[in-house]
Symmetry: C2
Subunit: 320 residues, 2 copies
Amino acid sequence: MPDNQRPQRFIDRLESAVRRRRTPVLVGIDPHLELLPPNVGAGDVENRWMLPREKLAEAVRVFCAGVLDVVASLVPAVKFQLAFFEQLGPEGMRVLLELVARARREGLLVILDGKRCDIGSTAAAYAQGMLGPPSVSPWGGDAITVSPYLGEDSLQPFVETAVARQAGIFVLVKTSNPGGGMFQDLVADGMPIYRHVARWVEHQAVTTKGQYGYGDVGGVVGATYREQLVELREAMPHTWFLVPGFGAQGATPRDVAAAFDAAGLGAIVNNSRGILFAYRRREFERFGPARWQEAVEAATRDMIEQLRAETPAGRLVGSL
Amino acid sequence: MPDNQRPQRFIDRLESAVRRRRTPVLVGIDPHLELLPPNVGAGDVENRWMLPREKLAEAVRVFCAGVLDVVASLVPAVKFQLAFFEQLGPEGMRVLLELVARARREGLLVILDGKRCDIGSTAAAYAQGMLGPPSVSPWGGDAITVSPYLGEDSLQPFVETAVARQAGIFVLVKTSNPGGGMFQDLVADGMPIYRHVARWVEHQAVTTKGQYGYGDVGGVVGATYREQLVELREAMPHTWFLVPGFGAQGATPRDVAAAFDAAGLGAIVNNSRGILFAYRRREFERFGPARWQEAVEAATRDMIEQLRAETPAGRLVGSL
């Protein structure tokens, strides 16, 4: 399909990419320094933190570029975890920028996972810095994650900038971590806080709806709480989910299955450590640390197959 | 007092700095591009966004360095709003780094306002990147702001890193923006969500208590909701408050007064636009855009005087 016939709205580009690759797998680029394989230039794990930041940043660049090269033909999108780049100072941020450009060149949609939030004009500054192609935004994200604690007027600038730049946002609704319920599960006016957030997100999804029924405003809903995932899928029919929690965090394909609609759409499922550091998993130890890139490919294919076999993602059809 | 006798714990260094300067004024470094004066190299406001990012970043550097040079001898601390630096890409981040180093050299405590939040190991990466002196952290913050939506296990790594590095965190409790109540004010188990967050923060403040009774874990409590500020001051006796909302956002010295304890301690009061862009305020228009730096000084002195005259901060004594 020629470029000018591709849907331009973020959510339509996302759905189109998921259909083309016939998988909702989202590869999370979380370069934990202590998990990097030894042959990318970061030396032994014991001495790693003694290395100059430039050297560590270069190792992260080599590793992540290697991951992108493998997954670009397999999955629709990647998600960069900004913390691991910020951690390396300005050198890390430069590497992030280079990797975002590479991912875009390779045809991947890019989600920047920064969970940003702030009031009014500051939220606008974050949104303008992060959303949109590199011609208008230095960081070049097709979408970003945002946190809702500051309320509607802090979220609105993200929504507006996203729509204006054909980009998207994923608002934290119900997170995958063990302590996520501490505030999210408190019940007010007869429903948990995450449902209050969900209601606002679903409303925004409806008002930013693309041609396939989902909106540019999506939600982060963890797969580690299956019951709530079922409840939220039901309550948020226009909201595309970004689903963390698969793999290292313990969620199974059966847990994740609840995130999809009947056609296998409506969700992308993140896997970070389970793919990036697959060379450390028993199933893929045959590759060994030196062949970590083959382990990345095997783990990605394995997750794609698992979701095809055990979730509605198996019903995805390649055409638009 | 020689350096080796200075208290080392963050909260003690903060209290000591507030006493030495005899003011709790915190200058917020929020370089809104559209508000920069014309003589810092960013040209006319109409054509500003056409300039290359390097040029804009350099203008931000010149402007913020000028602000730091003026306020360093007047106030105990500055707060950098990360969004306005991120917005300019890697160039902006390099400028941020240079300004943080300058502020530290000039004896100011540095708060990095990024409102970060994430789960477990990712939260640790943020904390390790941002907290502590430049010898251990690329970004060099004495303290950072964090958002609580993800719950306890997302906050704990920030607390641990802060304590280990003699740094601090300020957790969003009750924010100053008009829509802040949307989720924060929902009532669960008989109290609003912000009180649930407050309870956790106060508990952490107690466990990280320094020699003067406040803890390394502080809270962000806006001055625009006076009633809640009074309530939270009462409920959180060991929690130092970072108070936004003064000036441009509408809070008066009388509103802010409720943030302090009887000795004038327990809070720092942020002012960003009202100080940085004082040349645009009627009271300081005599300086004109070219003499913006004098307007910064006049506005800082004016705020210091207002808080001395109308709040318990007037009781601050210079000695430790």
